[in-house]
Amino acid sequence: MKASLKLNRRAFLTATGGAALIGAASALGAPREAMACRGRLATLIDLTRCDGCDGQAIAACVSACKTAKAGDVPQPVDPIPIPFPSRKVEDWSRRQAVSDRLTPYNLIYIQKAEADTGGRKTTVFIPRRCMHCDNPACATLCPFSSNHKFENGAVVIDPDTCFGGAKCKTVCPWEIPQRQSGIGIYLKVLPTLMGNGVMYKCDLCQDLLEEGKTPACIAACPRQAMAIGPREEIFARAEAMAKRIGGHLYGQEENGGTSTLYVSPVPFADLNAAVQTGPGRPHLRPVARRMAGSDGLGKAVLAGPALGVAAGIAGVFAAISRRKDRSGKEE
């Protein structure tokens, strides 16, 4: 297990340029992210190792996340403006301790599955958080670009510009982002007519990554069930692990590919059938990337100006040709 952790960290540091270099870069006044976010990262969640910190009130990863993100969600105004016309307010500020689902105050939780695979019962614990998709609609379709995918693969919401319209949640196949009403920029614009708070989800501890550190949940796992590192390396490890145990992968193809790979000893269809799903409790079904269908039309849009220019030039030549024909006939 120690070796596993060491490998994780070594791989991570290789991807990010190395802790020593980060320290040196900081000392020299170079931008902090220069070293830390270099390269594409991925995370591996080994479900053969995760035991959900059985026996503890809250799993170590969940607890570490809560600690790392404590104070990130400001206190909402009282009363929270009632949005028109939906009148739907989401206030988790009085339920901050909830840890059995995703909330603005709980960005990772453990799903428990009593999977039945051909009559064979297996108990599997599944840490659930944002998958950090390769082409995340939650980020690309955000009307204010408050949600963005960074080069290292982390998909991060900027709470300072998010209006809490929850479009990111709607387009996410797992409905991961969670809203806290009564906070954020929308209060300064049109609180009852536009927006409804701020959306929150796992940001892969981008601030820690920038410092060359490991995300809180990964660092806290006592069984080293989670790892982060260069994408190719993590993918290769996940595939090799799945092959070795005759296991299954989730996250490699889902929603067009993600930066989070789950390795499970039982099929994910069985896990999906066994887990509790609903608001804040995502499924484990296979999902296609819906926006993929629009990519062809998007490429045509990118070619649109060239089409217009070509048609314009052709039109001018046609006009000249017509004029010559006319003058030829008149002569």
């Binding site: 609609a137 690309t140 379709l141 009307p143 670009s145 479009k167 490429k299 649109g304 100006p305």
Partner: protein
């Protein structure tokens, strides 16, 4: 007489078929873009636009993205065609000229009964200014939209600073586009401009209207009126040395015509808002 003037039908050609196609391609795709752009905000479901007959799709962000893309293709291609085609042909009549700002202020004052509307060329000075404003708005929307589209298709991790610039420019100019659209429709609602509405559908406007309000344009289409003495000379032909003959240029034609024209248009036709939407123009 110019072939653009059909005296018997009391019509004068103002827009070619191609120009009308450009106008309507940009106008209709722009309208669809405004609508689908609003749907891309989390607006349709919240404000129950989805409940309207035929608009159930409006709450589906991916469906409205398809619509937005389809309209963008037409919009960007038509705008670039307009720029290149008319740019290469030297059709520059809609570009602002020196003094247009001052002239526009004077014209706007006539709306409030101050002064008299001067005779116009084919386009009003404020039309030329509005055209430039609309062109800049459209250009920014297209450029920022292309960055956003590229990000969606190829590079979701595109440089965040560039993405933020593209997004906020797109949003800001989206608002300006709405305002420009509202102003454009508002101008068409003014009674004096009603005769011009027909032009963007059929390509022609009433000749008597154009002679009253756009005499400087009509003067460029019609031969100059023969001066009385010239007519008399034609009656009694006499050799005239070429250098003694009055030189007729478009400027002198315009000046002469302007001097001969009534300074006050007929009642009810004295205001001058824009009449050519989106810069599609026959120059």
């Amino acid at each position: 007489m110019s072939q653009d003037i059909r005296e018997a039908e009391n019509r004068v050609f103002r827009h070619s078929g191609l120009e009308m196609a450009e106008h309507w391609a940009i106008a209709l795709s722009g309208l669809v873009l405004l609508m689908s752009g609003m749907f891309e905000l989390p607006m349709a479901a919240r404000y129950r636009i989805t409940a309207l007959p035929g608009f159930a799709w409006s709450g589906d962000f991916i469906a409205s993205l398809y619509v937005h893309y389809a309209a963008s293709l037409v919009f960007a291609a038509a705008a670039c065609f307009h720029l290149v085609y008319h740019g290469l042909r030297g059709d520059l009549g809609l570009l602002p000229k020196q003094g247009d700002v001052r002239a526009s202020i004077a014209v706007i004052k006539t709306f409030f009964g101050k002064g008299k509307e001067p005779p116009f060329g084919k386009y009003l000075p404020e039309q030329r200014l509005a055209y430039l404003g609309m062109a800049v708005t459209i250009a920014v929307l297209i450029l920022s939209g292309l960055v956003k589209t590229y990000k969606n298709v190829f590079a979701p991790d595109l440089d965040y600073t560039l993405v933020l610039w593209a997004t906020w420019l797109h949003n800001a100019f989206f608002v300006l586009f709405i305002l420009a659209f509202v102003a454009h429709i508002g101008a068409l609602l003014l009674r004096p401009n009603w005769p011009m509405i027909r032009g963007i559908f059929t390509g022609t406007v009433r000749l008597d209207y154009a002679r009253h309000r756009h005499p400087l344009w009509i003067a460029t289409l019609e031969p100059p009126p023969a001066p009385p003495e010239a007519a008399a000379e034609r009656a009694v032909p006499a050799p005239v040395p070429p250098e003694a003959a009055p030189e007729t240029t478009p400027e002198t034609v315009a000046a002469e015509t302007e001097a001969d024209l009534p300074q006050t248009p007929p009642e009810g036709e004295a205001t001058s808002p824009a009449d050519e939407p989106d810069g599609a123009a026959r120059t």
